[in-house]
Amino acid sequence: MSENIRFIQGNEACVEGAIYAGIDFFAGYPITPSTEIAEHLARRLPETGGKFIQMEDEIASMCAIIGASLTGKKVMTATSGPGFSLKQEAIGYACMTEIPCVIANVQRGGPSTGNPTHVSQGDINQARWGTHGDHSIIALTASNHQDVFNMTVDAFNMAETYRTPVVLLFDEVVGHMREKLVIPEEGEVEIVSRLRTSLGKGVDYHPYLPREDGRLPMSDFGGEHKYNVTGLFHDMWGFPSNNPKTVNELLRHLVDKIENNVRSITRYKEHFLEDAEYIMVSYGSSARSAIHLAKNRRAKGEKIGVLELQSIWPFPTEMVREKCANAKAVLVVEMNMGQVTAQVKAAVRKPNRVFLANRIDGKLITPADIKRLLRVIQGRGV
């Protein structure tokens, strides 16, 4: 048996990605369908010298990872719908204070406690706008276990690069299903380490003074430098400020550091796109059904392809516009009421040729579900 091959659940693939990326600390509270992430990290983290804490609730879990990250640790928590709602205030705090952290949200049906053991992709917009106020955020997703692993590593890397919370938007089907994962050798995938200040003890350290490249070197809190951290608008020392210039500059910085890097953050896969007349835009487990359908229709000579999104936020508007430029119609396949569809409509030149193929009953959308709508769009009857 090869050491590097596993046959595991998607949630375990996320755990292996986190371990590979160098996670030091996890705090969480069990919630279906994400629980296996906590369960396996409880076993894996002590093996790598890391720490695992089951906290008293979702809010405390989010706050614990923020605190741990500030002291220099790579951190993650895992949750699902209702827990993701509870974490939102603290996610906003991490945005404002620019503390790297990864939040895995294995989506279930909502709102409220909703449909815990069944699949949904209803938290797309919550990932973007769940916390209040202007801000930007990174959210990644995946449709198979290899990509769950890769996106988890990317999430840790992006959290460090941009000093921001990164949301992993998985779903119940991918989280619970078992399939093959090949774990790359050490060094095969790049790992971004914490950017620490080179300033020594006793030298003035400005925690919120960006370098020329926009990045802010950190100093492990409780270590060599004393500084302030607050959720209020703050100056370069981290002290609260309502100076209009300071407020203006900080808010623009929080948004620009992500929105100006959309191209670097964008992750996607093309399946049979080269000459596709009909393009399905999809992500997560629904992309599996879209790809299945595309393969079947291709075998029958139809020019159909799939644009699989792996980064949802910041939305890769330009990329989607370019890829869909020659399509007769675009079919967005997702398991919600059209959350990504709205983004695709805003991105393409002919929004009236963008259609939603969805399913919201807790069942994985099937290739047959998509095919029914596709036939109507193609003018081939019902």
Binding site: H118, R178, E179
Partner: protein, 180 residues
């Protein structure tokens, strides 16, 4: 076989899901194939009906659910009543004589074996019934190499119980092979 779709069905506690995981794991870890295994979650997993879908293929597997299984295993009457009609024409329907009384003819090869009774008579431990079913399946079909299943069982079962499980696997394999 290029692509095999299987459905294991029964009730919570019979080890249906464990058997499904071991089979798919064997395909990936020891036969170098791709496989997906998914299952019903929720209250149904405890005492109610359980179902697990497995796809084994040389190629990439996208849609992980099974509509028409090439191989359908039913270990309770409820599972049989619910699922027997979905078996793919020309496929295989495997049932246990103690738990399932077959009532209708399906367009598939029906194999009814006294697996549970044989486990109780020869081994005396109901807990290895699921492994015996797996053995029977491997004895009847060529879904996967018997040696691969043995290795996967060894990976998953605590060492003290390995011999017991191997006995059950052998027993099932013999009963399955003899039925052909």
């Amino acid at each position: 076989m290029n692509r095999v779709r299987l459905v294991f069905s029964g009730s919570g506690g019979q080890g249906v899901i464990t058997a499904a995981i071991i089979l798919a794991e064997a395909a990936v870890m020891y036969d170098g194939k791709n496989a997906t295994q998914s299952q019903s979650y929720g209250a149904a997993a405890r005492g109610g009906g359980t179902r697990s879908d497995i796809i084994i293929s040389d190629q990439e597997i996208n849609f992980p659910e099974v509509r028409q299984p090439n191989v359908l295993v039913c270990l309770t009457q409820d599972a049989y009543n619910t699922y027997s009609s979905i078996v793919r024409p020309g496929g295989l329907l495997l049932t246990d004589t103690k738990f399932v009384k077959t009532t209708k003819k399906v367009d598939a090869r029906q194999v009814e074996l006294p697996l549970f009774e044989e486990v109780m008579a020869k081994i005396g431990k109901p807990v290895v019934f699921n492994i015996c079913v797996l053995g029977a399946l491997v004895g009847i079909t060529e879904v996967i190499r018997p040696k691969s299943v043995m290795s996967a069982v060894a990976d998953r079962v605590p060492r003290d119980f390995l011999e017991l499980n191997n006995e059950a696997l052998d027993l099932g394999f013999t009963l399955g092979a003899e039925s052909q």
